[in-house]
């Protein structure tokens, strides 16, 4: 256990988080932190509470106990959209794109927290609203180029194949230019080539934008390759936390997870 309790450098720290649904404990007394600029992986077997963890981080679930410190201050009971505004973006395990909208509009929606022309200007459009729209369009076009999805810019995302949808969803999260990016199984259901592409995007994002990333992933190879540090959950409890190599060597983790994961 070599958890760095240095909150000075931590972008997000969770302290003694417990979450339950009507008596069923989903998370029990979990503490860990995410440092600025790192890629932090959350791993664990199915039902370990990984997605619940992300839901706590972005405020969709409110834990019964524990504290969430973000960007150096204790976070109150905020609504998810307020938390998004503070700078947390995410992707979802089961793609949660806006199916009726085009790729471009999905990405533009990702920037919604940064747009603020009022309704009257929007109604008139010419002037403020158009200017703002164009500014953000530039940013989004940059992401489109980055993710190499120029050709599907105007396509409704419902019509796209799975792999591309995952990419668009990543794009939407990137568009938010968040401080912390949460990726919930970004590579699930992909073939090897798609996984490689996605890995490359994640690493590029990390390098190019310097975004702090927390990701859930099942593919241990991927995790070990790209994560700076790993936290391991099992049955809602934290059973390991540290550098990939340390975690890999941790007997608890091997027993609980690695040993039985490839069943």
């Amino acid at each position: 256990m070599n958890t760095a309790q240095n909150t000075g450098d931590a972008l997000l720290s969770l302290k003694n988080i417990s979450l339950s649904f009507g008596g069923v404990k989903a998370l029990t007394d979990i503490s860990f932190d995410i440092l600025k600029g790192e890629i932090r992986a959350i791993i664990g077997p199915n039902g370990a509470g990984k997605s619940s963890m992300l839901n706590v981080i972005n405020g969709f679930y409110h834990p019964q106990q524990g504290e969430v410190w973000f960007n150096g201050s204790l976070r109150g009971p905020l609504k998810p959209h307020e938390i998004a505004r503070q700078g947390i973006a995410r992707t979802f395990q089961n793609i949660a794109l806006f199916k009726g909208m085009s790729t471009l509009d999905n990405l533009m929606t990702g920037r919604i927290t940064k747009m603020n022309t009022n309704i009257f200007w929007q109604a008139i459009w010419k002037g403020k609203a158009e200017k703002e729209e164009l500014e953000h369009r530039e940013k989004v076009e940059h992401i489109i180029d980055f993710l190499e999805i120029q050709a599907i810019r105007k396509t409704p995302v419902g019509r796209l194949p799975y792999g591309l949808q995952k990419r668009v969803e990543l794009g939407r999260a990137l568009a938010a230019e968040s401080k912390l990016l949460l990726l919930d199984e970004p590579m699930a259901g992909m073939n090897v080539e798609e996984k490689e592409d996605m890995c490359r995007f994640v690493l590029d994002v990390h390098e190019e934008f310097g975004t702090t990333i927390a990701l859930i992933e099942h593919d241990m190879g991927v995790v070990m390759d790209i994560a700076d540090r790993v936290v391991v959950l099992d049955y809602g409890k934290k059973i390991g936390d540290g550098y990939p190599d340390d975690v890999r060597a941790d007997q608890n983790v091997i027993d609980a997870y690695l040993g039985v994961s490839h069943d």
Binding site: S51, N55, F92
Partner: protein, 333 residues
Amino acid sequence: MSPMILNTIEVILNGLMAGVMYALVALGFVLIFKASGIFNYAQGVMALFAALTLVGFQTGQVPFSHLINVVFGTNYHHWSSGINSFLAILLTMLVMVGLAWLVERVVLRHLVNQEQIILFMATIGLAFFMEGLGDLMWGANIKVLDVGLPSGGSFWWEDVTREWASEGSEYYGMYIDVLDVWAAGIAIVLVIALTIFSQYTKTGRALRAVADDHQAALTVGISLRTIWVVVWSIAGFVALVAGIMWGSKSGIQFSLSLIALKALPVLILGGFTSIPGAIIGGLIIGVGEKLFEFGIGPLIGGATENWFAYVLALIFLMFRPQGLFGDKIIERV
């Protein structure tokens, strides 16, 4: 008991009876929604259509006589002086089954896997179509329906309840419409029959399987199309019953299709997917709106029932967004 209390009991009792009548209509909605996820806007029109057809058979009308006479210059109206009620009901049921088959064949089959609102819209098209068809077949004039059900206030109940009033108070006894009691009885029989059908017959079990999980039902080899025909036939039967009960009061006419509006608050209250919900929702709405009309209505000018039913349902929904008995909505990401 003081007349005041007795009056309140009377209002509640009649509210319950009205509730049964609402539930009868709501039942048809629930059946179809449960089995196919379709909010069937045409349910009210189906009741009208079934009742029109029933009277048409009973009195021996020639269907489409107006059209035939216009096109061929003939003058046909009736082919017989009428047939037995029971036989007419059977024939009407056959027509409703045929209709269900046609609906599946011509419309629903082509809309499998569409969004709910599209299916809803298709039933609206169906409602329009059947409205025109019903009138064209049987004419738009008012028709008297008599299948031998009694009606009128019950003397017996009046006498019994008069005894309950405290000494010296002027009390006329409690009112209850015999037709309503019959309706309640028929509703109970109907629900029992539906329960037996869905529990103990093969088709019924298939029906429940489909209601639980479409995909799973398909994989074990249940034909969705057959199920849809069956469920629309049953809904047609329920519509016929509702049409008879409501039509006995007002005669068979276009307005009969508007009874659907009375069923909607019942549906949201009881949940779209629950048969007991439809019954209990109906009773709550019936009692609630009658009590409100009596208690508060006179203070604000009356005729409150139409909107109060919805407001009542709305208040319930604020606490249980899926209705009283609806499947719980689980939000996840």
